[in-house]
Symmetry: C2
């Protein structure tokens, strides 16, 4: 049996880094994550074994405790409040999100108004908004920009990391028409599109395809659909317990891809089971 | 004037992180980088102002000094030698390369022979080879695999991060034919193809395109060619000193992309000059 694992599969870099930083900073005392660090119950349980616990209110954090800022990032005010509380901050903001914070801070200090394309209720966006030194406006739809009547001298346009390129393009087009001095920096992260594209390519090149992830995870379901559209031998499993290896002995090459919230060890365990039992 | 900066432009994540780590760990004492941290003379000069100096022989590093392992990574033996010398290691190995080291160490410990597709003289590959606990073979061409006659039980196949997908595919095809139990993990990093694709897309959407980077940088030259193929108003500059803004006032939207060794501040200075002088 040959197993091919998709190039871009599983956790994005920012989430992996946040979890690694939390574990690296864990100890016998509780290490807090401010909000949920990942939406996967197996992984949250694993983190509990390192005394890593989510907390949703800064007031609930003990003085001198460690708190991990998750990959989504936080507004500047959160850092100020945590410092006032004498808490030790482990900053696991995704570096691609951190870049957005720096751009907002720098350009708004230099008199730019910031337009952020994204969803104003998404925690990444509310965090980013909290780094502006001047005006910042969030637009989720090109129509909102059409209807926006403010006269502005200089504009910086950025994107929430997870929006679609098509939304960025349609918003940029309207901004181009309405304003004169604009710097566009497309800050969309390619993790999602890379994961989907590499799943599609792999599915087309193998005899059967396994998609690993939570049954409720919408991004994993999307991977399943993409894979199934090019390879009808596509199967969806949450973890190794669900798979019957016997069924896969008829295939020579099996491809594997995993959703954004699927830990690597879940995939590793499944690969091991496949390889061991297929030799029997 | 509107300026659009390509999404994937300039330093890859691993190089940016290595430089940030070096600066963060710099002090009044010399901080060494073991080998060149970046191939860009302006940036090397900037790092000298932080007392960051390259060193090419471990013997030349003072006891108790800090040494940065650059993004390419190092074999395990280098860590052992540095520790024996009582040197403080700042490990700036690119996380994508570090993943290759872990995979090689884990799978070779579990009885797998490792096939690494890449160039056996590239520093990333020589570093990766030094993490195997058993046999590791490097192949730079599918023909080398055709001619390889060793009988092997279980194989892990990985890629140097910077090879082309077409090389991976052609090697994987031969390995598929010759061997039975194989795990393929495509570890190609997408930084180069993303940079080229986003330059191509941006060039097609703007009135003129500026490519920023060293005149001798082959990856920057490649960006220039790609951009020019879709937009004849493509210009190549090393830095802000070379650009005459007057010439660009006829364009409404200007796109910017930068080579892999071009620091962000070189791009920022050029953008500032464009915006300031175009308003005059």
């Amino acid at each position: 049996m040959k197993i091919k694992i998709a190039n871009h599969s599983g956790f994005c870099y920012g989430v992996k880094r946040a979890i690694d930083l939390a574990v690296k900073n864990s100890s016998d005392e509780t290490t807090y994550s401010y909000g949920d660090i990942i939406h996967n119950k197996d992984e949250i349980n694993r983190l509990k074994s390192y005394n890593i616990e989510p907390v949703y209110d800064i007031e609930d954090i003990d003085r001198d405790a460690k708190v991990v800022i998750r990959s989504h990032g936080e507004p500047k005010s959160t850092y100020d409040r945590l410092q006032a509380q004498n808490v030790n901050i482990v900053d696991a903001t995704c570096p691609y999100v951190k870049r957005i914070h720096s751009l907002i801070e720098d350009y708004s200090t230099n008199g730019y108004t910031v337009f952020l394309i994204g969803n104003k209720n998404h925690p990444e966006v509310t965090a980013s908004m909290g780094w502006a030194k001047g005006d910042i406006f969030v637009f989720g739809d090109p129509k909102e920009i059409e209807g926006f009547e403010k006269k502005i001298d200089k504009i910086l346009v950025l994107a929430q990391t997870t929006i679609k390129e098509s939304l960025w393009d349609s918003c940029a087009q309207i901004i181009n028409k309405k304003y004169k001095n604009v710097v566009f920096i497309n800050t969309i992260c390619s993790a999602t599109s890379l994961r989907q594209n590499s799943t599609r390519e792999l599915a087309a090149a193998v005899d059967a395809m396994l998609i690993i992830g939570g049954k409720k995870s919408s991004n994993t379901k999307k991977l399943y659909e993409i894979s199934y559209s090019v390879n009808k031998n596509t199967f969806f499993y949450e973890n190794k317990d669900e798979i019957i290896v016997q069924k896969f002995k008829i295939y020579d090459i099996i491809g594997i891809s995993a959703g954004a919230s699927t830990p690597k060890w879940v995939v590793d365990e499944l690969v091991e089971k496949l390889l061991n039992e297929s030799e029997e």
